[in-house]
C-alpha cells in the first residue's frame, strides 16, 4: 500500500515563519521523498496548536487518508500531547505520528535564515524517515482486582486496612506475631496527642469488627507474582509452614515496622544486664504493665539519667522520634514524683513538627534538667559527658534510660527478596521517590508505609497509610480496567542467549526467565519502557517498542545526510 505521509509545518506566527523558509522546506521534503511507494502531502499553517489548527489537522488526516503524519513545530514538551490528541480523534494511530522541533532547535537559535532552513529540512527528513518505521501500538485494557493485602498489623497496617476496606474492596491483613498493634500497644501515652493505649485498642477493635477485612495472625507471605491490579499471593502459617493460603489482590501494602538496635554494640555504651539500664521501649512496657516505674529491687528511682541519640553517629541517621519520646519519658518520671531528679542528655534537639516545641517547654517547666552535650559515655549507671563549653563531668544515677536507633524490622531483608523491592542503604524499603512518591515502590501496586519506609512517629505512619490508600483508591477503582504502558520492551525469542543481563538491570522486576525455553521474557504489564535492558543485551535481542534501533538509526542517518 502506498504510504501517504502528511508533513505539516507550523508558522508559530512569526516565530518560525520569519526565521526559516517554510515553502522551501515543504518543496524539498516533498521532492526528496515522493516515490512509487510514498506520497508526501506537505502544507503550512499559521498556528497548529490553536483550535483552528487542530481542526485543520483532523480534516487533513481524514480527507487525505493519511497513513503517517509529521508535525514540524515547537518543542514536543509544549505540544506533543496536543497532536496525539488530534490523532486520537481520527483513525490514525498516534504511534504513526512524529513531532519535529524546528522552533527551539532551528528558528530560535540560528540567525542565518538559510542555515536554519537547511537544519529544519534535515530534522524533518529524519522525522519522515523515522515515522515510516514506526508501528501501530494498541493500548490494551486489563481487568483489575480491587482487593488489597496488608503485610504487618502495626498501627500503620491497621489504619491502611480500615481506610481501604469496603463493600467493593476486601482487605486481607497478615501479622506474623500472635497479636495486633505492633509496638504502639506498649506505649503508655501517645504523643503529641494524649491518646494512648485506648486509641490503639479502639483501632484494633475497628479492624477486627470490619466485615470486609480478613485478619490472619501468625502469618507471613511466601510468594507473590503479578503487577498492579493482578497479584497472586501465597501466605503461610508461621507455626505450621505447610498450612498455606492462596489469595489474589490488586495491590499490596508493606507495613512491617521497625526494630530497635542493640545498644551494647556501640562503643560508648557499656553495661551489664544486672545494671539498672533500660531501653526506652522497656520503660514504656514497664509503665504499661506495672503502672509504675521502679528499679528491679521494687523501689522507685530517685535519680534518673536519659541519653538521647545512642548510635546515631554509627547509623548515620536521626531516628526522628526519640527526642520527643525521651521528653515524654522524662515527664513520666516527673509525673510519678516531682522529687525524682531527671537529667536528660542530648546533642541536638530534633523537634520538626509544629507541636513538638510545646513538649520541650513543658518538660523544662516540669523541672527536667536538659543538658546539651558534645560527647557521652555510659559505664554501668555512670554517665560521663562533656558539656558544650568543654567541661567534662560524671554523674552516677540509680536508673538510666537509653534511646536506641530505630532500625528496619528483622524480616525486611527476606521480604525484600520475596517482593523484589530494593532496600536503601540503611536497610529500610526503598521508596519510588523520596520527595514526590514516598509511599510508592519500584513496582506499581506495591506500597511501603510507616516505619517500614523509615523511622517516624505514629501520626506520620498513619498519614502514610492514608497516602497509600489515596493512591490505591484512585488507581484501582472497583470494576474499572487499567491501561498499562504500551511503549514497552520485548525479547526476540530467536536471538536471546539466556545470559540474564537484562534481568539484573531492570529496576522494575519486569523481566523473568523462562527456564524451559531458556530465554528472558518481559512482562508487559510491569515494564515501564526505560530501555535499560535494551542497552544491556549483548545479542541485541531486546526491542523497545516505539524506540527501536531501526527507528532511531533511520532518523539519525537521514538527518545526517
Amino acid at each position: 500500500m502506498k504510504k501517504k505521509i502528511g508533513v505539516y509545518v507550523c508558522e508559530c506566527g512569526p516565530n518560525i515563519a520569519d526565521k526559516v523558509d517554510i515553502d522551501k522546506i515543504i518543496e524539498t521534503v516533498v521532492a526528496a521523498n515522493n516515490s512509487e511507494n510514498v506520497e508526501i502531502i506537505g502544507d503550512r499553517h499559521k498556528l497548529l496548536c490553536s483550535a483552528a489548527g487542530k481542526v485543520f489537522l483532523e480534516e487533513e488526516i481524514k480527507n487525505k487518508e493519511l497513513t503517517h503524519m509529521v508535525v514540524a513545530a515547537c518543542s514536543p514538551r509544549d505540544h506533543n500531547s496536543t497532536f496525539i490528541n488530534v490523532c486520537k480523534k481520527t483513525e490514525l494511530n498516534p504511534y504513526l505520528y512524529k513531532m519535529v522541533n524546528i522552533r527551539e532547535h532551528c528558528a530560535w537559535i540560528i540567525p542565518d535564515k538559510d542555515k536554519a532552513t537547511n537544519k529544519a529540512i534535515e530534522y524533518i527528513q529524519g522525522g519522515v524517515a523515522r515515522v515510516q518505521y514506526q508501528t501501530e501500538l494498541i493500548e490494551k485494557k486489563l481487568d483489575t482486582n480491587p482487593d488489597v493485602l496488608v503485610i504487618g498489623g502495626g498501627i500503620a497496617g491497621i489504619e491502611a486496612a480500615i481506610s481501604l476496606a469496603g463493600k467493593k474492596r476486601k482487605v486481607t491483613l497478615i501479622e506474623r506475631s500472635a497479636v495486633l498493634g505492633g509496638k504502639s500497644v506498649f506505649l503508655k501515652e501517645l504523643l503529641p496527642s494524649q491518646a494512648g493505649k485506648e486509641y490503639i485498642n479502639k483501632r484494633i477493635k475497628d479492624l477486627t469488627d470490619n466485615e470486609n477485612i480478613q485478619v490472619f495472625l501468625n502469618t507471613e507471605i511466601e510468594k507473590i507474582i503479578g503487577f498492579l491490579g493482578n497479584f497472586e499471593i501465597i501466605l503461610s502459617d508461621v507455626t505450621n509452614k505447610d498450612k498455606k493460603t492462596e489469595i489474589k489482590t490488586g495491590a499490596t501494602i508493606v507495613a512491617t515496622g521497625f526494630g530497635l538496635s542493640d545498644v551494647t554494640e556501640f562503643s560508648n555504651i557499656n553495661y551489664d544486664t544486672k545494671d539498672e539500664v533500660y531501653t526506652s521501649l522497656e520503660i514504656e512496657k514497664m509503665l504499661s504493665e506495672k503502672g509504675k516505674l521502679k528499679l528491679s529491687s521494687g523501689v522507685p528511682p530517685k535519680k534518673v539519667g536519659l541519653i538521647h541519640c545512642v548510635g546515631r553517629d554509627e547509623k548515620k541517621y536521626c531516628s526522628q522520634i526519640c527526642c520527643n519520646y525521651m521528653m515524654k519519658i522524662a515527664n513520666y518520671f516527673k509525673k510519678q514524683s516531682a522529687k525524682i531528679e531527671v537529667k536528660e542528655f542530648y546533642k541536638d534537639l530534633c523537634l520538626p513538627h509544629k507541636d513538638d516545641q510545646k513538649l520541650f517547654n513543658l518538660t523544662k517547666k516540669n523541672g527536667v534538667d536538659l543538658v546539651r552535650i558534645k560527647e557521652v559515655s555510659l559505664n554501668g549507671t555512670k554517665i560521663k559527658y562533656s558539656r558544650i563549653d568543654g567541661t567534662i563531668e560524671e554523674n552516677e544515677f540509680d536508673m538510666v534510660v537509653v534511646a536506641p536507633p530505630i532500625i528496619p524490622s528483622d524480616s525486611t531483608k527476606n521480604l525484600s527478596e520475596i517482593l523484589d523491592i530494593p532496600l536503601d542503604e540503611f536497610g529500610f524499603f526503598q521508596e519510588a521517590h523520596l520527595s514526590t512518591n514516598p509511599v510508592g515502590t519500584s513496582t506499581d501496586g506495591i506500597f511501603i508505609i510507616g516505619n517500614a519506609q523509615g523511622p517516624r512517629g505514629i501520626s506520620n505512619s498513619i498519614l502514610m497509610a492514608h497516602a497509600a490508600s489515596g493512591q490505591i483508591r484512585t488507581q484501582l477503582i472497583p470494576g474499572e480496567q487499567i491501561v498499562p504502558e504500551v511503549k514497552v520492551s520485548e525479547v526476540l525469542e530467536a536471538f536471546c542467549m539466556g545470559c540474564k543481563n537484562c534481568i539484573d538491570v531492570c529496576c522494575y522486576g519486569a523481566i523473568y526467565f523462562d527456564e524451559i525455553k531458556g530465554i528472558s521474557v518481559v512482562n508487559e504489564a510491569i515494564c515501564r519502557g526505560c530501555g535499560n535492558c535494551v542497552a544491556s543485551c549483548p545479542s541485541g535481542s531486546i526491542r523497545l517498542k516505539h524506540f527501536t534501533n531501526e527507528q532511531i538509526y533511520q532518523e539519525v542517518i537521514e538527518a545526517l545526510k
Binding site: S81, Y317, L349, D355, I388, S435, I462
Partner: protein
C-alpha cells in the same frame, strides 16, 4: 457529571497539584484554584531540592504540565475563593477569577510583548531582586507560559500615559484590555486546602539587620539568587553590585523563638545553601551559625554530614537573643556568644537568614469563610480527635502540605495523598 463528586483544591503547590492528579484519574472534575498567575508553588523557586539535590524543575515541571493538560482538571489561576457554603457532599463555592488580559488560548508564550513595554517594576515573585515589565510572567519557564498585566502599573490602566505597545507587539492578538474579572460559581462535594505557608518576616527582628544592608538575604532570596533562571542567572553577586562574596554566614533558626516552633526544614536547606555556595565559589568561606541540627528521618543526616563541617564551618552559639548582626557600608559583623560563653565577632560579606515558615496572611479569612479552625500559631488545624488525620475541623474539608504546618516536600506529598483518600471516603461511599 454528578456535581457532588467534584472536588475543589485551593493552592497549586506540590501538595495541591499531587492531590489533583490523583483525583482526576478517577474521572472526577477537579477545580484547582491558584492566586498567582502560575502554578507550582514554592518548589519551583528552588534550583535544586534536598535531599537528592535534583533539579526542582525536572521534579515539578512534568507535574505542572500534566495538570494543565488534564481533561478533568480545570485550573483557575489569578483566582481566589470568596465563598464556601454548604456541607460535605454539597458545597457551593464562589471564586473570584481576576482578569489576565491575555488569552491563554491565543498566546503562545513568545515573550515579544515584554520588550516594548515602557514600565519596569519590582518583581515580587523574584523576591524583588529584579524588575519585570507591566506585562510579565513571573520567571522564565513559568507555567502556564502566558503573561498577565499588572494593572496598577500599566500605563493603559493607570492612565499615566497612553500606551498600546504590547498589543502592537503581539502577533497573535492575544492581549485584550477588555478582559473582566469573573465570578465563577461551582458545586463540589469536598475541598482540599493546600495553600502552603508564608515565610517569617525577618525585618520584624532588627537584631539581624535585614533590609539595612544589601548583603543580608533571606533564604528564599538566596534560592532565587542561586537559580539559573533567576535575577542574576545564578551568579552569586551581592545585591546592587558585581561583588562576589568572599565569606558568607548562614544563620539558622531565625524566627524560631518568636514562632515557638522549629520549622524542621531550615537546617536542611541551609546545608543545601552551603553546598550551593561551595560548588559555585569554592574559595568562599562559609559559616553556619546553629543551635540545633534538626535532620529527621533516614536520609537527611547523611545529606548534612557531607556538607556541615566539610564544606562549611559549623559554629555553635549559645543564645539567639545575643546574636547581633552589625553593619556599616563595607562590612557585616556577626556578634555572638560561643559555647564557652565568650563574646566573639566574625566579619563576612554576606548573610543568609534561615527564616521560619509561618501561616499565610489570608489563613484567618479562609478559616472564617470555610468555618474551620486554626491552631494557636495560625496554621490550619486537623481533627484532633483522630491521630494522623488530614481532616479539618469541618467534615468534607481537608488540609495538606505547609498549610497545616512547616514541612518538606516529602511530607507535603504524603498529606496530599492522604487527603485524596479522605475525599474518596466522603464522595464514593
Amino acid at each position: 457529571m454528578d456535581q457532588q463528586k467534584n472536588v475543589l483544591v485551593i493552592g497549586a503547590g506540590i501538595a495541591g497539584m499531587k492531590a489533583c492528579l490523583l483525583l482526576a484519574k478517577t474521572g472526577k472534575q477537579v477545580y484547582l484554584v491558584e492566586k498567582l498567575p502560575i502554578i507550582g508553588g514554592k518548589t519551583i523557586k528552588n534550583e535544586e531540592s534536598f535531599p537528592n539535590l535534583e533539579c526542582s524543575t525536572c521534579m515539578v515541571a512534568p507535574v505542572q504540565q500534566e495538570i494543565l493538560q488534564h481533561p478533568n482538571i480545570k485550573t483557575l489561576t489569578l483566582s481566589e475563593v470568596e465563598k464556601i457554603e454548604g456541607d460535605i457532599g454539597n458545597f457551593t463555592i464562589i471564586i473570584n477569577k481576576k482578569a489576565r488580559y491575555v488569552s491563554d488560548t491565543d498566546c503562545i508564550g513568545c515573550d515579544m510583548c515584554f520588550d516594548p513595554c515602557p514600565v519596569s517594576i519590582s518583581n515580587e515573585w523574584e523576591e524583588n531582586l529584579m524588575n519585570k515589565k507591566a506585562i510579565y510572567v513571573p520567571c522564565s519557564g513559568s507555567l502556564p507560559n502566558v503573561p498577565t498585566i499588572d494593572t496598577e502599573h500599566c500605563y493603559h490602566f493607570n492612565g499615566k500615559q497612553e500606551c498600546n505597545a504590547c498589543v502592537e507587539a503581539c502577533m497573535f492578538e492575544a492581549i485584550n484590555f477588555d478582559d473582566k474579572d469573573e465570578k465563577v460559581e461551582i458545586q463540589v462535594g469536598a475541598v482540599i486546602i493546600a495553600t502552603g505557608s508564608d515565610i517569617y518576616d525577618v525585618s520584624l527582628l532588627p537584631q539581624f539587620g535585614y533590609g539595612k544592608h544589601p548583603g543580608i538575604y533571606t533564604s528564599m532570596e538566596f534560592e532565587r539568587l542561586f537559580a539559573s533562571n533567576g535575577p542574576t542567572s545564578g551568579e552569586l553577586t551581592i545585591r546592587n553590585s558585581e561583588k562576589t562574596p568572599k565569606s558568607i554566614a548562614i544563620i539558622h533558626c531565625v524566627g524560631r523563638k518568636e514562632q515557638d516552633y522549629c520549622s524542621g526544614i531550615c537546617c536542611m536547606y541551609s546545608a543545601k545553601h552551603a553546598h550551593f555556595i561551595k560548588h559555585k565559589l569554592p574559595d568562599t568561606k562559609i559559616y553556619n551559625f546553629y543551635r540545633d541540627i534538626c535532620v529527621p528521618g533516614k536520609t537527611y543526616q547523611k545529606f548534612v554530614e557531607k556538607i556541615n563541617d566539610i564544606e562549611t564551618q559549623m559554629i555553635y552559639h549559645n543564645s539567639m537573643d545575643e546574636l547581633n548582626i552589625l553593619h556599616n557600608e563595607n562590612e557585616i559583623t556577626i556578634e555572638y556568644i560561643t559555647g564557652k560563653s565568650k563574646k566573639e565577632t566574625l566579619t563576612v560579606d554576606m548573610v543568609i537568614l534561615a527564616s521560619a515558615l509561618n501561616p499565610g496572611k489570608d489563613f484567618s479569612d479562609i478559616s472564617k469563610m470555610a468555618k474551620i479552625d486554626l491552631d494557636k500559631n495560625g496554621f490550619f488545624i486537623t481533627n484532633q480527635e483522630k491521630v494522623g488525620s488530614v481532616e479539618s475541623t469541618k467534615p468534607g474539608i481537608f488540609i495538606a502540605g505547609c498549610a497545616e504546618g512547616p514541612k518538606d516536600v516529602q511530607t507535603s506529598v504524603i498529606q496530599a495523598e492522604a487527603a485524596v483518600s479522605g475525599v474518596m471516603s466522603c464522595l464514593d461511599s
